[in-house]
Amino acid sequence: MNSQNGRPLILKVEDLVTRFNTPEGVVHAVNGVSFELHEGETIGVVGESGCGKSVTMHSILQLIPRPPGKIIRGRALFHDEDLIHLAPEEIRHVRGAQIGMIFQDPMTSLNPVITIGKQVAEPLMLHLGMNKADAQKRVIELLELVGISQAENRIGQYPHQFSGGMRQRVMIAMALACNPQILIADEPTTALDVTIQAQIVELVKKLRDELGMAVIWITHDLGIVAGLAQRVLVMYAGFIIEESLVKELYINPQHPYTLGLLRSLPRLDSNEHQRLTTIPGLPPILMNEPKGCPFSPRCPYRFERCAENPPLLEIEVGHRAACWWNVQEGKPRND
């Protein structure tokens, strides 16, 4: 599969395995993740805390602390270059230039003692070799692009003089400074109020369409993904357990975990009071070498075959799920 709707492939991640050595033991954070991203495409990566969604993206950009983290194997091909095995100075040319990133907490991702103007100018001077005057001009343009009014007056201000939503806009301006081909957004709206979240989501959608970049949006919120992504990866215990076009996923979820998540959400759009369906048990502890299907201890459809960990099985074109059981038809899947 080289293209989706004729779009060329831009990032191809293959069999990524990341572990952390901790005093309590080895944490199996990412256990063989493979996915593709096409030019201009938005994918949503969905999962609960500890499912490996952030570690996957951080591994690709060599952002995990090593040690204790270790990338055991895998490749992340970006324009035929394997990001995971690039030298530190080479990956720095990719990060913040060709691939931009925004994080959950805009309060801690900005340096509190450096003015906003200087922080946004840094990638411009570093990656594009702009001089101070040009960089400043571009900073003002960028801040206006992300909806910060009176940008000229605000470049001399410090992060604490900005609200949470405004700081996230500054982060987006920084991420976009060098016209990246990919924007990785790691739960960028989780710390924000819902009206501010709506502002940020609309902003990213608008910029994505104007600038034509691909977006990887990491979130635990199936609602945000529904309105933003074309394709969704659902992660659990360091595995991708389902991958699908967004509409297909919500009408026809194939993995019991995806199905459980969708059923457990209270809905803003339902007038009837229905008891929520719960997923019993607790999210997995990743201290042990994965054996069998990681979701099977919590799965209502578990049967003998689940002792063997299922690979991602193709359900139909573009829709894959890692489950031996056909939840829609109530019988084992023929593999």
Partner: protein, 323 residues
């Protein structure tokens, strides 16, 4: 209609801002600026709003954890604001609180058994063997194994800790519980477990909840009536379905339109009202209507006069000049 259990009238809570060597008062945070509503027996009343709107302060002030600056809180006909010391303490047995952060609201040095026994000991409702039996019973009620009594909070997951918090709130058989963002710190798959538990306990013990949350989907699911708060004031209050299907206040409308719906087909067709800017500081709330600085419909009158809190349809209250 069922009986009123809690009646909040014109509740105000201001916090002084002190500065300088002599700690002179230089300003006031208008956290809660005059809030009126009631909660009926056995009902869930949802209070929604964004961070800093004063919803948590309102919850705490109702329970007299903060003393109100003005206003009255009648619990079963008794004005809590006038009560002090022992009298207040005795009434506290009947109203409890569940906190947002299950990591911070349990003492890490106390075993679960001690945590659950503490209210029983403090209020002298049980002793010796009775306490142990009641602790087992409480763990059973929140579907935790009785064997957990000897363990410490750090041994539990977030969802299990929140169950312990719920068990502690139930220890004295209250009639009213303030649930302050009880599920927002939990994972999605665990949230539904705690919501179902709260619903089961409500029907089992005829509890009334004041359910404080920022998540409008959760509030819709659990509440019978809902009030929306903005910058210290209620802007709208109605029966659940009425509020969600016919929101009248521009803020409620914007808030509802901002919530993502987990349905790509609906999301595709949705028209969002995107509010400009941020919530103003509660130190200097805007004149007139507090929402006018972000309101897409604001007119001259909105800056000049505070909108009246009026009942525009049966049980549907709103504070807006333009409704």
């Amino acid at each position: 209609m069922t009986e009123t259990l809690l009646k909040v009238e014109g509740l105000v809570k201001h916090f002084p801002i002190l500065a300088g060597v002599f700690q002179r008062q230089v300003g006031v945070v208008h956290a809660v600026d005059g809030v009126t509503f009631d909660v009926r027996k056995g009902e869930t009343f949802g209070l929604v709003g964004e961070s800093g709107c004063g919803k948590s302060t309102a919850g705490r002030t109702i329970l007299q954890l903060y003393r109100p600056t003005a206003g009255n809180v009648f619990f079963d006909g008794i004005d809590l604001v006038k009560l002090k010391g022992e009298e207040l303490r005795r009434l506290r047995r009947r109203m409890q609180m569940i906190f947002q952060d299950p990591y911070a609201s349990l003492n890490p040095r106390m075993s679960v058994g001690e945590i659950l026994a503490e209210p029983l000991v403090v209020h002298e409702v049980a002793k010796g063997q009775e306490i142990r039996e009641r602790v087992d019973e409480l763990l059973n009620i929140v579907r935790l194994s009785p064997g957990f009594a000897a363990r410490y909070p750090h041994e539990f997951s977030g969802g299990q800790r929140q169950r312990i918090g719920v068990a502690r709130a139930l220890a004295l058989e209250p009639e009213f519980i303030v649930c302050d963002e009880p599920i927002s710190a939990l994972d999605v798959s665990i949230q539904a477990q705690v919501i179902n538990l709260l619903e089961d306990l409500q029907s089992q013990f005829n509890l009334a909840y004041l359910f404080i949350a920022h998540d409008l989907s959760v509030v819709r699911h659990i509440s019978q009536r809902v009030a929306v708060m903005y910058l210290g004031l209620l802007v709208e209050m109605a029966e659940r379905n009425e509020l969600y299907s016919h929101p009248l206040h521009p803020y409620t409308q914007a808030l509802l339109s901002a919530v993502p719906i987990p349905d790509p087909f609906k999301e595709e067709k949705r028209q969002r009202i995107i509010l400009e800017g941020d919530v103003p500081s509660p130190v200097n709330p805007p004149s007139g209507c507090h929402f006018r600085t972000r309101c897409p419909l604001a007119e001259k009158i909105c800056a000049e006069r505070e909108p009246e809190w009026r009942e525009v349809a049966p049980n549907h209250w709103v504070a807006c000049h333009l409704v």
